[in-house]
């Protein structure tokens, strides 16, 4: 008759990064492009900081629950936070004449940066972010569609419109 021995041992079979390590990896990967995106959308360094921080903390909560977080998810959350901020700011501006903010002063960019940012400021937020996501971050139109909740075909039409508007306005500054 066989005797069963209960043996309690410890074996480490595969290392899994814990959420904090995953968060650090996420920061390494998309902290810079995400802040660039937020800067284009909200134009205010303090708001960029707040939105980015809140986005990464929400990502951490997701990771803590064992859920995966990809860059599309992060952009989507950041975008929602930025849009909320823009809505709040719009309400404020209707009541008081606030927010005389010129990004050229806050970031001390080059002349070309200034022209590009001033041109972007003339575009609607939706077109600004579309240009950033496609031309700078190189998200495919299908991915952008998933982030913005619209079809890829609509993204392509809007992207063309945004590019045309930017081309005309930026070209006139040269």
């Amino acid at each position: 008759m066989s005797v069963v021995v209960s043996l309690e041992g410890v074996r480490l079979i595969e290392a899994q990064p814990v959420p904090k390590q995953q968060l650090a990896d996420l920061l390494d990967r998309i902290e810079k492009p995400l802040c660039g995106y937020l800067r284009v959308v909200v134009n205010d360094p303090d708001v960029v900081f707040d939105c980015a921080q809140e986005t990464f903390l929400r990502a951490y909560e997701q990771l803590e629950r064992g859920r995966s977080v990809n860059s599309q998810w992060v952009y989507k959350v950041a975008r929602n936070l930025a849009v909320d901020h823009i809505r709040r700011r719009s309400r404020l501006e209707q009541n008081r004449e606030l927010l005389d903010q010129t990004p050229a002063r806050q970031y001390s960019p080059s002349d070309r940066d200034t022209r590009v940012r001033q041109t972007l400021d003339l575009l609607p937020v939706a077109e600004r972010e579309l240009l950033y996501l496609s031309i700078i971050d190189r998200f495919r139109t299908e991915e952008i569609g998933a982030m913005l909740g619209i079809r890829a075909g609509a993204v392509r039409v809007r992207l063309f419109r945004a590019r045309e508007r930017f081309r005309t306005l930026y070209g006139s500054t040269l």
Partner: protein, 206 residues
């Protein structure tokens, strides 16, 4: 293909496949308007691309990492109704199983299980310690990580602390494999606050 469709393709040139790019190139050789547009778009891409060179706020990373643990700890974890239902079902099944076990219908007799630490120590040349939750708080579990064939693995483990011997997992695992162990329990451990790993408890037939 119609002219305006090719202009739309030009606007998203970065994602075109090879055949679309070839079609566009062919059109550009014949269409001066689109050549001008392509040149302008390249200029715009260059100007927009330069914007990414700005660094993110220097304190962002530190602030995020510092707050990450605190905020999750401060928030009560939401438990989904499905999980609650599953947990309730598990309790019922456990109670049922306990009843069956007492009646001798489910599990093998406890007399055949030797779970004393002496039995464990006698079975292996190295000191073996109990499950992690039984470890005293001063005991430290350290994993040295390496990557083999693209998979990150713990290849050497030390368990240290006052009065605690070093465990050699390779020897342990080798013996366990030879005995065809069955995994009784699995849990996730956090080692050094950075790396998680599965910790298993084995039963060995012999």
């Amino acid at each position: 293909m119609r002219h305006h469709k090719l202009q739309h393709m030009l606007a998203r040139r970065y994602e075109l496949n090879e055949s679309e790019e070839a079609m566009l190139r062919l059109h550009l050789t014949a269409c001066e308007t689109c050549r001008g547009l392509a040149t302008d778009y390249l200029r715009d891409d260059d100007a927009l691309g330069a914007l990414t060179q700005a660094d993110p706020p220097v304190t962002l990373r530190q602030a995020v990492l510092a707050q990450a643990g605190r905020r999750v700890a401060a928030q009560p974890r939401r438990i989904s109704p499905v999980l609650t239902a599953l947990a309730a079902a598990a309790v019922v099944l456990f109670a049922l199983g306990l009843g069956l076990n007492r009646s001798g219908l489910l599990f093998s007799s406890p007399e055949h299980i030797l779970s004393e630490p002496q039995a464990v120590r006698a079975a292996l040349p190295h000191t073996v310690i109990g499950p992690r939750h039984e470890l005293p708080p001063h005991v430290k579990l350290t994993a040295h990580l390496g990557t083999y064939a693209g998979v990150s693995r713990a290849w050497f483990v030390t368990i240290s602390g006052p009065g605690v011997s070093v465990l050699s997992p390779e020897a342990l695992v080798g013996q366990l494999h030879a005995s065809e162990p069955s995994i009784l329990h699995r849990e996730t451990a956090v080692i050094d606050g950075h790396t998680g790993a599965f910790v298993e408890t084995f039963a060995v037939s012999g």
